[in-house]
Symmetry: D3
């Protein structure tokens, strides 16, 4: 069990992927925001408002995926070839579940890009609703699926 992000002197490093193959990499992550009934109703019961709230989160999530290497110190800069976001309404929680799928043809995986997209999307929903409910909780940000690369596939 080694920490790939530390060198022999235990200094943080950006892992050397120079010799890895350029293969297609895909990662899907998800996360949930649990909101109050009031906040949920305001978004869901008003189709004129649901659009802009959730689309702002979708757009922020996509932009967030592109900022991953700027946010996470040891992440490689990557040329993402696809980012897709889905938002599910969870009436029983109540809340929203946000999915992000990132793709790359490159030398390293895109798990962090998918997870960052989810985090930024959920933070944006929090921001849009925080005047109504400051007690919202972001939960279960997790990798759902990963394929491509030498370390093999991951499926939750």
């Amino acid at each position: 069990m080694t920490l790939t992000h530390l060198d022999d002197s235990d200094r943080p490093k950006m892992v050397d992927v120079s010799d890895k193959d350029n293969t297609q990499r895909v990662a899907t992550a998800s996360g949930i925001i649990k909101v109050s009934n009031e906040a949920y109703e305001v978004v869901i019961n008003n189709s004129a408002k649901k659009g802009p709230v959730l689309q702002t989160a979708v757009i922020a999530a996509i932009s967030g995926a592109k900022k991953t290497s700027d946010l996470i110190p040891m992440c490689h800069p990557l040329m993402l070839t696809s980012v897709k976001i889905d938002v599910q309404e969870l009436p029983e929680l109540p809340g929203f579940k946000l999915y992000a799928t990132a793709k790359l043809v490159g030398k390293t995986g895109v798990e962090m890009e998918a997870l960052t997209a989810v985090s930024v999307g959920l933070l944006t929903i929090y921001d849009m609703l925080k005047a109504i409910d400051k007690g919202m909780i972001i939960e279960n940000i997790q990798l759902e699926h990963k394929s491509g690369g030498k370390s093999g596939d991951f499926n939750r």
Copy 2:
């Protein structure tokens, strides 16, 4: 119950805070990352490694707080006057709990800055440990405390 981030035509907007007072604002947020026993042991049992892993997260969290208005579309650019991060070891989970406290003397609150710092810090721990454990889950990102401003204090 209104969505302050939508205008009369339901377009997203940056809320007008021009007429608000410059007061001292403080917000504390927290969040947890649940990791495998193996990942936890690698970090905790090796003081030479614990430092760089957790400090990378602390530094990323502080930098993340400063990027909030770049990440969250409707957030105001702010001149943060303080950001402090704490990391607790949770041996029973096992995992780590990260706290962020942001301060500002200004016209709007810093909840999003504290929440963004926590999110980026936890994502960084995920990144540092993902070669060992891809199943880690980020949980309970939430506002703990907020003070300052017209909307009053919040304490979880």
Copy 3:
């Protein structure tokens, strides 16, 4: 007639506003994108699609306003207190007119922030529609109104 952005040796500089008063500054800019009939129809005749196309432009415009000092070399970093975007449908052109209003309580005007928001919003509409029409033209990006500060008001 002097170029305020050049010093005595004709080197570019960021103008010294240290001694200016903190006053309320407002600026409104506008611009137009002229699109083909086909592109216009696709957006306008489908309310399910009109929302995301125009809202993506609105969000990009707001984010763009916040990036002004990063884009325009001599612009001061500013703590915008408000950004609002409006989009008008121009069926006869056909095309869209985008308005941006930026506000600040500070030492320098926000014309560039309003103009940058308009430019980025219109570029985003171009991007959303370019698979249908690559011949679109962005026109008439101009300051509509400016108030606050020593140089007085401007109204087109």
Copy 4:
């Protein structure tokens, strides 16, 4: 006629270019800024000043091209292999015409990079001259030429 940037649920997405070929892509865009006689004279009649004004615009345009995927939400991050800017003096308008040519060996076109470079360059000229003339108008930002990629060439 489809909006490639919307998915089946009409959510904005970054188009999936994973399976596209890496080919050489070139795009040229142009745009004009119309300025007052006074502003034009200050720049043109003083070679010591013309250099820094127009070069600031050139440099901002090149930097702007590199920021395209940060500004336009659905744009892919790209590794531009060339950006060239030209500025023409238009004494009869009076004003300036700015051209930007961007190149890439990659999976998607660089129209947005060329158009963004032009927009940022013209905004920079506005900024450099706005103490003399606030009524300047940015006009005719348009794609001139595009080659490479499956959608074929475009020539205005």
Copy 5:
């Protein structure tokens, strides 16, 4: 002697300046780049080329000052009110000396902004000349003067 950037647990922090006064802060830094005779001649003997080389450095230095809090993890985001750059030709070295002066009306000093501007400006000269000379050395980046704030003035 304490390290103000570490908290009681020796974690990095952004120092709390919430209670400091808003006063005028000024800092000047300088640095040198030593270049080969050939590189120096190419720049100096050709006035058509000297302008763009040195102005690119000036513009990069000003933009660099604005990016300080993005580059240096514990730096506060600041609203700089002035940045001025000067470049001296040093024919005997040969090389160039770059000065940066930054100003702020705020709660913390601008030494890092002046030093960052100098560093980025000198790196830009290196970049512009590196096809001619890869052996150039950047030297003596140092604070020249600082005033404002509780810690008093500094003059080298």
Copy 6:
């Protein structure tokens, strides 16, 4: 002797590397910060503090390498495949020497990335220690080694 970053009209340009081969490029740069005895002692004699001071510099240096094309106007955006930082203690100076090695499989060299990493790392050490010593000097930022690409290897 030509300035590759200027075009035929002496305008700055991003050099066209479209037709260059994708080869492995490596560059190592180094630089020194000379500090007071007091500042050196505080860092070195306290292992609890040495870690966070030097690791903050290491992390800032890696992040700085990734920002090179955002800082240096004519630099190409690059997908770095590796960044490693080393810090040596220089008790006799006293001070610290920071090394950065950057790698890329691509069309252009990574000298600027290595030099930028060194500069940002050293500025970060300055920032961490400036409450103790404002007279520190950053020296000898230079390329140590470069390989890959048509212009051949460089070894100091």
